[in-house]
Amino acid sequence: MKHADEKALIAHAMGLDDGDERICDCADCQRELAQIQATLATLSSWEVPEISQRPILLPEPKARGVRRPLWAGVWAGAIAAALIAAFALGRFSRPVAPLAKPAATANADPSRVLLVVVADHLDRTQALLVELEHPLAAPGARTVDLSLQQSGARELLASNRLYQQGADRSGDRKIAQLLAGLEPILLQIAQSPDRVTAAEWTKLEDRIAESGILFQVRVADENLQATLRKSLLNQEQHNQEQHKAL
């Protein structure tokens, strides 16, 4: 019988051969097979620890009967108000040259509105994450109250998804990625109990710290604010040039 090569021996030891294939029974082949089996047995001795009781967090279902989230009204109102204000500014401000683009239209640019609301969203997220470092705890109490942060996270979570979709559509991948990374963190806060033990709170805080999300949010927020300032400055310069032209 032909000597078995290493591949054939590994296949045999791992049950990857056809089963009825016989391995050469010479001492060399049998010794090598025994070595492979011993290696696999050693690897089998690797113990897996118990999984913790940490609950698996899933987004709240969008199914029927879900109450309309608070943010929906607030943000829809805010965006509508911004558009109305922009329209009014254009309507009642000094008339501009007929062919020039009115300021109102520029202000109502959907991507600009998205930038404004996302920047605000990141501000509120930062505030929430920082608040988590100082939760309410009565002196001597064994648990800390996270109910405020929890309800804040719920509102942010809903708007987070909306803005992520908006950023995706407008091709702003960096913001979309950041918001996608923010979601599991907000989810964890939103679904944490109202009151947690100090150990649970520390674990949550550690996870947030490890993710580095607060730093990423800060950087993105600063970049967005800078973009908005630049855009505002450009708009002002544009308006001044138009006034001079008149």
Binding site: A38, L43, W46, E47, I51, I56, L58, P59
Partner: protein, 186 residues
């Protein structure tokens, strides 16, 4: 819902938008996925995060799941991909320095056995860290999870031969790395 223990039935119900059915699937698979993720990463915390990520990705992409396929294979694929991303982000040097966790060894072991067991666990971790992410995934799924070549190939996007060869390469590397442990055993 309590009596609905059949995975295929649960998958269909979850696909229809029943969050409770998906929750039951989570309960049924979380331990298996944790085992896979732990053996891929060697870290409890990372493994737990990967399990969370797997279910989140699965939940978001439930509409893409083909009800005729196996929910288990689909979840394994998602978990494996998440673990591969994680391993690729971890630099090789970082991988080799993964600390050995205390809960690897039984609390009832004697000090001598504890030391020997600790060394073995360390050697295993080091040996597995020497594999490429795909070799590690393929070996883990075959040796520890007893998945078929077809299932492993589907999860990794490899053909049958490529899957087998990946496992062979992995075992050859593991043999070389663990050879010092075997001396005196045989």
């Amino acid at each position: 819902m309590q009596q609905m223990t059949n995975t295929a039935e649960l998958s269909v119900t979850a696909l229809a938008g029943d969050p409770e059915a998906f929750r039951l699937l989570v309960d049924g698979y979380r331990h298996r996925l944790f085992r896979l993720a732990f053996r891929m990463t060697g870290q409890t915390q990372d493994a737990e995060d990967l399990v969370q990520e797997t279910f989140l990705r699965a939940y978001r992409n439930l509409a893409r799941f083909d009800a005729r396929a196996s929910m288990g294979t689909w979840l394994y694929r998602i978990c494996t991909n998440a673990a591969l991303d994680h391993l690729r982000q971890r630099r090789p040097r970082e991988r080799a320095q993964v600390p050995i966790e205390d809960d690897y060894v039984s609390a009832t072991a004697t000090p001598e056995r504890l030391a020997a067991s600790g060394e073995t666990q360390m050697a295993i971790t080091r040996a597995l860290d020497g594999l490429t992410p795909v070799e590690r995934a393929a070996f883990t799924m075959r040796h520890y999870e007893q998945l078929s070549i077809a299932e492993i190939g589907a999860a990794l996007g490899l053909g049958a031969n490529a899957t087998k060869n990946t496992i062979f390469r992995g075992v050859q590397k593991l043999r070389r790395e663990l050879a010092p442990l075997q001396k005196g055993c045989l």
